[in-house]
């Protein structure tokens, strides 16, 4: 039997007066995945997260976590879900360890002692050295790492992270991504809302892109990225002046543009009608024309292109 999705939303709407923050969100996050949740500012990401966490009530639609409708989520069921807010804030007088132990005591049915869970979480986020310092003096990165640690104190099956690396330097971001991979390896699903496309590209296995309160694209990252652009990058050594015209004469070629020339090598961007056909025909056509072929590669979507195509002008 397949495991229930970590998150499933159908037709989720949320209105604030006349403003429709969510306009029929359909979303499915598989269990055990890292799910990149993308969208420009105001797309509805944080509102979706608030509905998932029960901090905000949906106007209509259904939303469930591991098959339990969120409106039926009891205090006890919340142990299934860990949460890190966008800009986490904790009682400044508490030390990092005290924050974790405070959170740990809120999970009375946990099987392991609070101190042990706190120690393990501190180790995971590499915060052991600062564990006994008041968290009022923590840097932004330390607060984020403490936030991830506290989200794990209930041994959750799903962790929802709202912009976990937005305030971090490159090293901090890399550390957070490593932590996310570790969580996935432990079978914990990670719902990861962020603006940083590069991070999502590096760790996520599923993504959803929101725009104007709707999910405009979602799916398996690998499938989305492997979709063809219908464009090839062709590099030829000292090509003849007629090569571009020769290529344009092919019925399966729609456009040829020289892109750059370096050390006698010229790179062309070749747009084609049929990607699969062009994979075989394009190198052969170049070689048959007595040209020296250096490289021929189909261009794939990068996440940024998928994102920009999905959100259009909203991204700017």
């Amino acid at each position: 039997m397949t495991e229930a999705p970590a998150i499933h939303c159908e037709g989720l709407t949320k209105s604030y007066g006349r403003v429709r923050a969510l306009d029929g969100v359909d979303l499915t996050m598989p269990a055990g995945s890292i799910f990149g949740f993308l969208g420009p500012n105001g797309a509805g990401k944080t509102t979706t997260i608030k509905v998932l966490l029960g901090l905000s009530l949906a106007s209509s639609g259904r939303c469930s976590i591991y098959d339990t409708p969120v409106e039926q989520f009891s205090a006890e069921s919340r142990r299934e879900v860990g949460y890190l807010a966008q800009d986490p804030s904790y009682p400044k007088w508490m030390t990092g360890r005290e924050v974790l132990e405070f959170v740990g005591r809120l999970y009375p049915l946990a099987t392991r002692p609070v101190a042990e869970r706190a120690r393990e979480a501190l180790k995971l986020v590499d915060l052991e050295g600062a564990a006994d310092r008041a968290c009022g003096g923590y840097s932004g990165g330390m607060r984020q790492r403490l936030g991830i640690a506290q989200s794990l104190m209930g041994d959750p099956r799903l962790v929802i992270l709202d912009e976990p690396s937005s305030s971090l330097d490159p090293i901090g971001r890399r550390d957070v991504l490593d932590i996310l991979r570790t969580l996935r390896d432990r079978g914990i699903a990670v719902f990861y809302s962020t603006h940083i496309l590069d991070d999502v590209e590096r760790v996520a296995d599923h993504i959803a892109i929101m725009k104007d309160g709707r999910v405009v694209r979602q799916g398996v990252m690998r499938d989305l990225m492997s979709a063809s652009l219908g464009r090839f990058r062709l590099t030829v050594e000292a090509p003849s002046a007629t090569l571009a015209d020769h290529l344009r004469s092919m019925p399966w070629v729609t456009a040829v543009e020289p892109a750059e020339a370096t050390d006698g090598r010229v790179t062309f961007m070749v747009d084609v009608r049929d990607d699969d056909h062009a994979k075989r025909a394009l190198p052969r056509t170049v070689v048959d024309a007595d040209e020296v072929l250096i490289a021929c590669e189909p261009l794939r979507f990068r996440l940024e292109e998928i994102f920009m195509e999905s959100v259009g002008d909203a991204a700017t």
Partner: protein
């Protein structure tokens, strides 16, 4: 709300842990320490000044004063705790809800296995406890000891009764201020409404048709405490005002909890 897995049995899940956190936080507040010092200092001035007044000199080190003099000392104590204390309670509690909501701590806590009523009630109970301890009990004990050393015939039973009424007052104000933090998200309306609820009714007796309110309005709790401590006769408002206050605070807190249950965070 339905419980999907049937494991949730606690009436107020997380209350104990949240109470402990709120109590520790309130105890560490610099404001409450300053208020404790001011209140204790102000109370100590009463017996010390009275001790050195010529009309109170007696044969021994421990003075015996007439009933009016003792009423003045005890009445001053209850009035100081009642009125100065009420301002301090409001000042120490006014941002307890709004601050945590503004920085997102409340939203963070409420994603844990706790209920929203637990969160509000733990906050109100902890502030009530710390306010009673620091603004009523500790200053009163110190004041009582000093006064007992300096003067004979201290009316301990009546002081105890006044202490109970003052504690009801502190509880009422603490719960009211916390409850107002539910509909209002900034300190200004919470403080203005609490102060208005507390002080405006003092003008009500000027309206003849509203004189009955002095028997029930929580604003008269300080007067009830003064009466309990220093009046020669114990009158019915000593009972009706605290009871009405408890009823009022239960109603207000229930309304706040109902609103908080469906509030966006």
């Amino acid at each position: 709300m339905p419980q999907p897995n049937g494991k949730q049995t606690a009436l107020l899940p997380g209350f104990g842990v949240l109470f402990q956190k709120e109590f520790l936080e309130a105890r560490r507040s610099k404001r409450i320490i300053i208020f404790l010092v001011i209140m204790t200092g102000a109370l100590l001035l009463v017996p010390v000044i009275a001790y050195f007044q010529v009309e109170n000199f007696g044969d021994g080190a421990r003075h015996e004063i007439d009933i009016d003099g003792m009423q003045g000392i005890v009445g001053s104590w209850s009035a100081l705790v009642g009125y100065l204390g009420s301002l301090m309670v409001i000042a120490s509690t006014v941002d307890a809800m709004t601050r945590e909501r503004a920085v997102g701590i409340s939203a963070w806590i409420l994603t844990k296995p706790v209920s929203r009523p637990s969160y509000v009630l733990a906050k109100a109970s902890a502030h009530t406890a710390i306010n009673i301890i620091t603004l009523v009990l500790i200053p009163t004990v110190i004041w009582f000891v000093i006064t007992f050393v300096l003067f004979a015939d201290l009316p301990a039973a009546r002081i105890l009764l006044a202490c109970v009424i003052l504690s009801v007052e502190v509880a009422f104000l603490s719960f009211l201020t916390i409850a107002l933090g539910v509909p209002f998200r900034s300190v200004t309306p919470v403080s203005l409404i609490t102060l208005a609820v507390w002080f405006l009714p003092n003008f009500v007796p000027a309206v003849a048709s509203l004189e009955w309110t002095y028997r029930v309005l929580p604003s008269y709790l300080p007067l009830a405490a003064v009466a309990a401590a220093a009046d020669t006769e114990l009158t019915s408002p000593l009972l009706t005002i605290p009871i009405a206050s408890v009823v009022a605070v239960v109603v207000l807190t229930t309304l706040a909890l109902l609103q908080f249950e469906r509030q966006e965070l």
